[in-house]
């Protein structure tokens, strides 16, 4: 049947002629393994085309959505990690294969006439491949791509004559943003692939004209189909296997934690969502123009150009960015011209010499770039910097600086020179960036805010909340974290107020009841209410029996648990506990309601316990600690942290100032978002803060 269908079809479209023309290529000298490089390149390009179009179906090119869409592909879509991973490693594979292909071509002397035009087409394809790599690097709109592209376009601005116009054309305006992304996207998925395909067709057509360049004394002959095609297929499979291995075992993806009930079930889901366990390509933290210290490096196959830049400082900058790279391209371009007439042997030799030297130089420069960035020696300790670390005898690893959390170089050791310090700084910056990348990947699992992925990091309680607590709160408050708490805390400095580590927990409250004068509570402050109360308790206890004291201790335990329970939403609180503990609290013997209030009951100037320890309670405390429901105007020592921005803030603040009356209040500006970040950091709540920005319109025109 297939034969008859084929006959029928051939009668109508003549496909056999076409297929024969493509496959029945005579290969003089026989099929060879060394001819496979070009085919593997075409094969990987096809993979790039297929995976690229697949990625396009889910990618969204904009400042606010690009990172989010790539994150979604990577972590949420079935086999998104695989498609993106193949595309990512495919570009790197192509770079390596181009090197092999070029080497094979010059060794065979296939760049010499009459194949010079094809050599030039190959060089053009090389240029387009570099262009594809450069433009693709930006598209995830992550930190790596963003900062590397800033550097790359600034390099483009040095092109003699047209540089600054070229830069503006590429960037899409005076500043990096949406249009940079849409342009790079258009180049990457439209212009450059189209150019690549056209050049590839020409390259193959020109190749067919003169065929393979076989060794002079070779014998035999074969057809492309199936003799060479079989070898090509094996080679492509090996290449594909390597790519797959890189995607799965490359170790550059960031694993994310998924809630129990959303975890992949069964082998299919496990595999489809393997991005969640770190398979696939790396995704850095979302691009943020407001990053004070990002250590920008290009993709590894551009590192040699990056390294070249270092050797030509100041006015020589063009040598490294323009003259040498273009000079090398020009030299490659001229290579075939040494193949005419008597020069042919020399031309053949020169070709090998130049390409081997070039690949060698690229390799050495890449290695030098790596050496410069590493404080420790590379290649099993053979070359590079040799940092001497301050070792921890227990773990056998470098000691960490308690202040900065970074490994410490041994002081006053001459081996730790400027270069080593710089490399150590760089590695630290990379480490910090990786932490942010992991964090962003994790936070993105809950969805990315409409403002864009960068708000995941800007508004992350874990990292940003920590910094804000440091500058606003840790000036007075200690914060002793629980052991192994990833949020961290502040234990060094001169503190003048309570320790907020564990604030509002049953343990914290219980300890306060036992010893309110401890530095952990009111010891450093002039708030004496609880201290006096405890003195009263001690006095009464002298008259009490042992059992009564033990019972009172139990009551304190219960009240502590009950107060801690107030931080939870009302419907989630323990009703039994509420009944018994509230009765004790109301009981005149313990004297709580003389000073405190709860749920509109009681009076007095000490803090109100309604929803004690909840976000609402803390927010009120931060914004108005001198209110009668907190410490009261007279006793309060804490500044008022208020949002002074945005429409309506004046009204709000005027009312606030009127309410303060004569009391001297120190008001410190703190935006709504920053305040929420502090509250979430304090309560170890790691959800990103969304929205709540000051209302704004477009810039006003005069």
């Amino acid at each position: 049947m297939p034969g008859r269908f084929s006959d029928w079809l051939d009668h109508r479209i003549g496909h056999r002629k076409l297929i024969d023309a493509l496959l029945l290529e005579h290969i003089p000298g026989g099929a060879r393994w060394r001819y496979v490089w070009g085919s593997t390149l075409a094969f990987v390009f096809m993979i790039q085309l297929i995976t690229g179009i697949l990625l396009m179906t889910s990618y969204s090119a904009s400042d606010t959505s690009a990172w989010a869409s790539v994150h979604y592909i990577q972590y949420q879509m079935d086999f998104g990690w695989l498609i993106r991973g193949l595309h990512h490693y495919g570009s790197q594979t192509m770079m390596v294969l181009i090197g092999m292909h070029m080497l094979q071509v010059v060794i065979a002397g296939a760049h010499l006439p009459p194949r010079e035009l094809n050599w030039w087409l190959g060089l053009a394809l090389l240029g387009v491949t570099f262009g594809l790599g450069l433009t693709g690097y930006l598209l995830p709109w992550d930190q790596k791509g963003y900062w590397a592209t800033r550097v790359a376009t600034n390099i483009a601005s040095k092109t003699p004559g047209i540089g600054e116009e070229l830069q503006r054309f590429l960037v899409g305006g005076p500043d990096y943003g949406n249009h940079t992304l849409t342009r790079f996207f258009a180049f990457h998925v439209g212009l450059l692939p189209a150019l690549f395909i056209i050049l590839l067709i020409l390259h193959l057509t020109a190749f067919r004209r003169h065929g393979v360049t076989y060794p002079r004394n070779s014998q035999g002959s074969a057809m492309f189909w199936p003799d060479q095609a079989f070898r090509d297929m094996i080679a492509c499979l090996i290449v594909f296997g390597i790519m797959l291995a890189l995607v799965i075992f490359g170790g550059h993806g960031n694993a994310v934690a998924v809630p129990e009930d959303e975890r992949p079930q069964g082998w299919y889901e496990e595999l489809a969502k393997a991005g969640q366990k770190g398979w696939g390509a790396n995704l850095d933290a979302p691009a943020d123009r407001d990053t004070p210290d990002y250590p920008a490096r290009p993709e590894w196959y551009f590192l040699f150009l990056f390294q070249l830049l270092k050797y030509f400082p100041g006015d020589q900058i063009l040598v490294g960015t323009f003259y040498i790279p273009n000079g090398v391209m020009a030299l490659l371009f001229l290579l075939p011209l040494f193949g005419f007439g008597l020069m042919r042997k020399f031309g053949h030799f020169l070709g090998i010499l130049v390409v081997v030297a070039l690949l060698g130089a690229v390799g050495v420069l890449t290695l030098l770039a790596k050496i410069d960035d590493s404080p420790d020696p590379l290649l099993y300790g053979l070359i590079g910097n040799k940092a001497v670390w301050e070792m921890d005898p227990e773990t056998g690893k470098p000691k960490l600086d308690p202040e900065t959390g970074r490994p410490m170089l041994q002081k006053d050791n001459p081996a730790n020179d400027e270069k080593v310090k710089k490399a150590a700084d760089f590695q630290h910056a990379v480490h910090e960036a990786e932490i942010k990348a992991k964090r962003a990947a994790q936070l993105g699992m809950a969805g990315v805010p409409v403002e864009g992925g960068r708000d995941l990091i800007r508004n992350d309680p874990l990292t940003k909340g920590y910094k804000l607590f440091e500058t606003n709160c840790a000036v007075c408050h200690r914060f002793t974290p629980a052991k192994g708490d990833p949020f961290g805390g502040f234990t060094k400095g001169k503190f003048t107020a309570s320790d907020l580590g564990g604030f509002g927990s049953a343990e914290w409250i219980r300890s306060l009841l036992t010893n309110p004068g401890d530095d952990r509570f009111f010891g450093l402050t002039e708030l004496d209410g609880m201290k006096d109360w405890r003195k009263g308790v001690e006095r009464t206890r002298k008259r009490m029996g042992k059992e009564a004291v033990a019972q009172e201790e139990k009551d304190f335990d219960m009240i502590a648990r009950w107060l801690a329970d107030q931080a939870r939403p009302k419907e989630k609180r323990d009703p039994e506990l509420d009944k018994t503990a509230r009765a004790k609290f109301d009981d005149g013997d313990l004297d709580c309601l003389t000073c405190h209030t709860i749920d509109r009951k009681g009076d007095g100037a000490a803090p109100d316990f309604t929803d004690y320890g909840s976000h609402e309670w803390i927010r009120f405390m931060i914004m108005n600690p001198g209110h009668k429901l907190r410490h009261g105007l007279e006793k309060n020592q804490m500044p008022y942290f208020r949002n002074l921005d945005g429409p309506g803030a004046e009204v709000y603040n005027l009312e606030f100032h009127d309410a303060l009356g004569d009391a001297k209040a120190k008001v410190i500006p703190l935006s709504d978002i920053d305040r929420e970040l502090i509250i979430r950091w304090m309560t170890r709540d790691d959800r990103v803060v969304f929205g709540g920005r000051p209302v704004a319109g477009p810039p006003k025109r005069e």
């Binding site: 600034n154 600054e164 943003g177 249009h179 000051p694 704004a696």
Partner: protein
């Protein structure tokens, strides 16, 4: 009766000519559309508040540069960011400067990375340029020192500063604002 060759010649030229007209009608706007970024302007560099630095800051007055953020509405093509960081600046104590302080943009004049504070100097993490607190390059690949910005004390609170925040063309010896 015209010769058939003349007629063919006319048709040849007419077809090519009409094609050229069509090409121009589409091609010229296409090119102009593509080079539209030449029209985009940055916002005029008005004075804006530096967030996060006060001139009476204790550390600053002990000689440690402090970093501040400039925030404002930012429009990126079609996206309006109500309150975005336009950029960052280093405020450096400078006894010899007219008002005792100098303000530099954090953007490296070499290739546009963000310049960090090193030990007694500024250091760029990308291509290892190092600058003194006066902004001059100590060693490195940049063609000029760090870019200084105009600033004024905030009239409502003289310990806060207003800065004329601008970006400058990277990798040139001249300090040219990008407009």
């Amino acid at each position: 009766m015209a010769h058939p060759d003349d007629r063919r010649s006319f048709l040849r030229w007419a077809t090519l000519g009409l094609g050229a007209v069509f090409g121009a009608i589409l091609g010229v706007p296409a090119v102009l559309y593509l080079i539209d970024p030449r029209n985009k302007k940055t916002r005029p560099s008005e004075l804006r508040l530096v967030d996060g630095v006060r001139l009476d800051d204790a550390e600053l007055n002990q000689g440690v540069p402090k970093q501040g953020v400039i925030r404002d509405v930012r429009v990126d093509a079609w996206t309006l960011h109500p309150s975005d960081a336009l950029g960052r600046v280093w405020v450096v104590p400078a006894p010899n400067a007219p008002r005792g302080f100098r303000v530099f943009t954090t953007i490296c004049p070499h290739m546009g990375c963000s310049v960090n504070l090193g030990e007694g100097e500024f250091a760029c993490p990308c291509h290892s340029a190092r600058f003194g607190f006066d902004g001059a390059q100590i060693v490195g690949p940049a063609l000029r020192g760090m870019d200084e910005l105009d600033w004024e004390p905030d009239p409502t609170d003289p310990q806060r500063i207003l800065v004329r925040y601008e970006s400058f063309q990277a990798a040139t010896s001249a300090k040219t604002p990008i407009h």
